[in-house]
């Protein structure tokens, strides 16, 4: 590890990035130091921790040990119990069974205040900052109920944090005016100011661009080097490779493996997370896991040899290698026909937010029939607004939208649907379906007239039709009459997607973050459906913040940056990933 902490937040990379772990071969410095720390003090010890929400156990007899001076990664798919584990340690939930020990002392926080008092701080996935307050006010919140907030002391401590961790902030900026990356820094500084002995980070990288992730990992290392313990919750293995010393893998609420990272191959971690051998995984799914270019070493007999070339082809191991193997196949499947008619044409679309800032700045793009056009970008650069304008839920200030030659710029959603525009909204539970209605009702809500009998709704026919869809799309539900909200996120998404793909005619599908929050199996199902639809001649606009996924699925990718659409970049081109990365961070803008 570099001994001298850098004074800038964009710190030089602490170690070569996603170099795959090879069991024991050429261990780098951090890994050996991890081994040295084997008998260091145990900061946190969890024993048989169990928590159920309703009937389903979110965490089932989980035990783990976090040592001082280490970054301990907690890995698992969505719904594996990672967040629950953090919330139990932070006192936001109380365990049903099991014990916790902090520095050897029994530890049973009843509320977050208890955890904070015990020196445990947490960086939350969705931030815990009051948006209408300034940075300083947010940081002062933790100082208790005092008449005079210690503003001056705060500024001094901020300087100290800036010196130690290279995190400098403008204390007078309002939080809701800050980009997400900076908010993340505020959240971390808020924790650091409390001088925690144990820092929990719950999926901290979801909203960050690659450079920000890099510096966050460097910060994690520094915190560990200062003698504290860090618990880093993630489902992205590249992050584990960068910052972790030890790992614990959760699956279905149970601890399925773990230990010092020096002794575990990355492919084994994936196998533990997914419960399947890596070689059996679709390359795309591996990409979704942040496994691009990783070698499924020692797993499939044919695995290592095939991937070797892909890794070697990558530019000198510095940047993340492009998933060369997966792209041509995907592109070939969808870009067969040469001249294609435009399914969706967007010209000069401009949208302003209520506060007057520009959300979309003269965005123009065209989706051809049978094409998957990806929209990449760090969140908050206008993707949400683009999806909303196309869905008809947000009105553009200027510009036009044409669907298959029909002008739908000002068309209400119903007309868009009639003309063949399918929409998978970003917030599927609130905009994509009605939680209290049944799966069947949600599937056919727009076509209830088709199930009329004596003027009344023929529920039997409705449910029968729904059962067919449920079977065809492998939607896991007890019954098509079950309320939508009882389904898991992945299955809700399958229902929404099934409904939209059943439109007749279907000219274009706008899918906003369709794989967000889904586990690997569900991601695979969604992606397969999208590819099938494209193969049938439907144009698809796929808005996603997972670049690896887009690279594997899309034909072309545009990047949203500060409301502008940059690109497009063909996914088959050499160096596409690097080019996209530069566009996302504005380096090429």
């Amino acid at each position: 590890m570099s001994a001298v902490p850098s004074l800038t937040w964009r710190a030089p990379r602490a170690r070569p990035a996603p170099e795959p772990f090879r069991g024991g071969a050429a261990p780098d410095e951090a890994r050996s130091s991890g081994a040295d720390r084997a008998d260091a003090t145990v900061t946190l010890e969890l024993e048989g921790l169990t928590k159920a929400f309703g009937a389903t156990p979110a965490l089932d007899a989980a035990s783990l040990r976090v040592r001082a001076g280490t970054v301990h990664c907690v890995l698992g798919e969505n719904g594996a119990g990672k967040s629950t584990l953090c919330n139990l340690v932070f006192g936001a939930h109380s365990p049903d069974a099991g014990t916790m020990r902090l520095y050897g002392e029994p530890y049973a926080p009843q509320r977050p205040a208890d955890a904070l008092a015990a020196g445990v701080a947490m960086v939350h996935q969705h931030f815990s900052l009051v948006p209408t307050m300034t940075v300083a006010e947010n940081l002062l919140l933790g100082t208790g109920l005092r008449l005079r907030p210690p503003r001056r002391e705060l500024l001094g401590e901020l300087d100290a944090v800036a010196d130690t961790y290279g995190l400098s902030l403008d204390p007078d900026a309002r939080v809701d005016a800050l980009p997400v990356g900076i908010r993340q820094q505020v959240e971390i500084v808020k924790c650091l100011l409390r001088k925690p002995r144990l820092l929990l980070l719950d999926e901290p990288t979801g909203v960050l661009d690659p450079a920000q992730i890099e510096s966050l990992m460097a910060t994690c290392r520094r915190i560990a080097e200062a003698g504290h313990a860090v618990v880093l919750v993630t489902h992205k293995l590249a992050e584990v490779a960068r910052a972790g010393d030890e790992a614990t893998v959760l699956r279905g609420g149970r601890v399925v493996g773990g230990g010092p990272l020096a002794g575990i191959a990355q492919s084994d971690l994936v196998a533990m997370m997914v419960g399947r051998r890596v070689a059996e995984l679709d390359p795309l799914l591996a990409a979704g896991l942040g496994l691009e270019g990783a070698r499924p070493e020692g797993v499939g007999p044919e695995g290592s040899g095939a991937d070797e070339s892909a890794v070697d082809a990558a530019p000198d191991g510095g940047g993340p290698p492009a998933p060369g193997a997966t792209v041509p196949a995907a592109a070939a499947a969808t870009s067969a026909g040469a001249p294609r008619a435009a399914a969706l044409a967007v010209r000069g679309l401009t949208v302003r937010r209520p506060d007057g800032t520009t959300a979309l700045d003269a965005v123009s793009l065209t989706v051809a029939r049978g094409e998957i056009l990806g929209v990449a970008g760090v969140e908050g650069n206008g993707q949400s607004e683009l999806g909303a304008v196309l869905a008809g839920s947000l009105r553009a200030r200027s510009g036009s939208v044409e669907l298959d030659g029909h002008d739908i710029t000002a068309a209400p959603p119903a007309r868009r649907t009639r003309l063949g525009l399918g929409v998978v909204p970003e917030d599927r539970l609130h905009e994509g379906c009605i939680g209290e209605l049944s799966v069947a009702e949600n599937l056919f809500l727009a076509r209830l007239a088709d199930f009329r009998r004596y003027g009344l709704l023929d529920r039997r026919a409705l449910n029968r039709a729904a059962d067919e869809v449920v079977a065809a799309h492998a939607i896991r539900t007890e019954d098509s009459r079950a309320p939508m909200r009882t389904l898991s996120g992945g299955n809700q998404q399958k229902v929404v997607l099934a409904r939209e793909l059943a439109l007749d005619p279907l000219v274009c599908l706008v899918a906003s973050q369709p794989t967000r929050g889904l586990d690997i199996g569900a991601v695979g199902a969604v992606v397969t459906r999208l590819r099938d639809a494209a193969a049938r001649g439907c144009g698809i606009l796929l808005i996603s913040s997972e670049l690896s996924e887009l690279l594997a699925v899309a034909d072309r990718i545009v990047v949203m940056y500060r409301g502008r659409a940059l690109g497009p970049v063909r996914t088959g081109e050499p160096g596409a990933r690097e080019r996209l990365g530069r566009l996302m961070t504005g380096a090429d803008a």
Binding site: R111, S128, P131, R146
Partner: protein
């Protein structure tokens, strides 16, 4: 005195009970609890202060009784809306109906015999010199002891609740983003309890001020909606201290117009003047008087999930 001076002075005097109640309500709403029961708290305070003053023969004891009763009443709102997470609007309306019934009945039972007895009250103590300043003097420097105390309390609350103090920050955090406040280690429910009880305290004082400084008696439903007016003032003041205070004074002056309009040569039906604060309130809520934004967690009960 000139009619304008009368109007100002009358306006401030009429505004004072509303101002008191609004100051506590402002803090409570910024912490995330809407007390429609403010009306009931004021009525309870007015009744209990008169009853206490009559029983003890001392106006100060009366004030203490009024405040105590109103704080107890506020505790009902707090338990229901903070601990039991009941709908704050429903609780408020039901509580007001309860207060109206209870005080009307109470006045029959306790004040029945000595309806016409003189209630020990506060006398005006004009500050020598200052109260002779034209226009402002009678408005600001001719109050009762309770009135001065009320003005001072309102000023202290206004200052303590600004975001420049740790308390103000904690209150705003509880009302803007209760979950974040909780995760920052702040006792969200404790803060909300304290703020509702504070609203009870100031509303009780407001009721006592009305009964013992202005009217010198208790009559059925004597608050007649000024508790709602205080809630309206907070909305019209967009949850900020100074605009809320100005709204209260404005409402006071609108009420005072009823009495001074003839002298000013304005020929308007009294009912129109009585209506005016509510018309203004509707305009304020509808966003016609500038855009208003309520605390994000106002009326949203807080509970840790799981």
């Amino acid at each position: 005195m000139s009619p304008v001076s009368d109007l100002l002075s009358g306006g401030v005097h009429l505004a004072l009970p509303v101002l008191l109640a609004a100051s506590g309500e402002l803090i409570s709403e910024r912490a995330g609890v809407l007390n429609l029961s403010l009306e009931g708290m004021m009525l309870t305070g007015a009744f209990a202060s008169v009853a206490g003053a009559l029983q003890s023969g001392d106006a100060t004891v009366g004030v203490l009784c009024g405040v105590a009763a109103a704080v107890l009443f506020a505790a009902l709102q707090a338990v229901l809306s903070v601990t039991l997470r009941a709908d704050q609007v429903v609780v408020g309306i039901a509580a007001n109906a309860l207060a109206l019934g209870a005080t009307t009945y109470g006045s029959r039972v306790m004040l029945g015999d000595d309806r016409n007895a003189t209630v020990p009250s506060f006398d005006e103590l004009p500050v020598p010199g200052l109260s002779d300043i034209p226009y402002v003097g009678p408005a600001l420097f001719a109050h009762t002891a309770l009135g001065y105390a009320a003005l001072a309390l309102v000023a202290v609350i206004g200052l303590a609740a600004s975001r420049r103090t740790g308390l103000g920050l904690a209150v705003d955090a509880a009302g803007e983003d209760a979950e974040t406040a909780d995760r920052s280690g702040l006792p969200v429910r404790g803060i909300r309890y304290a703020c509702v009880l504070l609203a009870g305290l100031t509303a009780g004082l407001g009721g006592a001020q009305l009964a013992l400084s202005e009217v010198h008696a208790f009559t059925d439903n004597m608050t007649a909606g000024i508790g709602y007016l205080a809630v309206v003032a907070v909305i019209a003041g967009r949850w900020r201290a100074l605009p809320t205070a100005l709204a209260c004074v404005f409402f006071g002056i609108a009420q005072a117009l009823q009495f001074t309009a003839p002298a000013l040569g304005v020929d308007l039906p009294v009912a129109v003047l009585v209506m005016s604060p509510y018309v203004i309130a509707l305009l304020a809520v509808s966003g016609l008087v500038g855009r208003s934004r309520a605390p994000a967690c106002l009326t949203v009960p807080f509970a840790r999930t799981g």
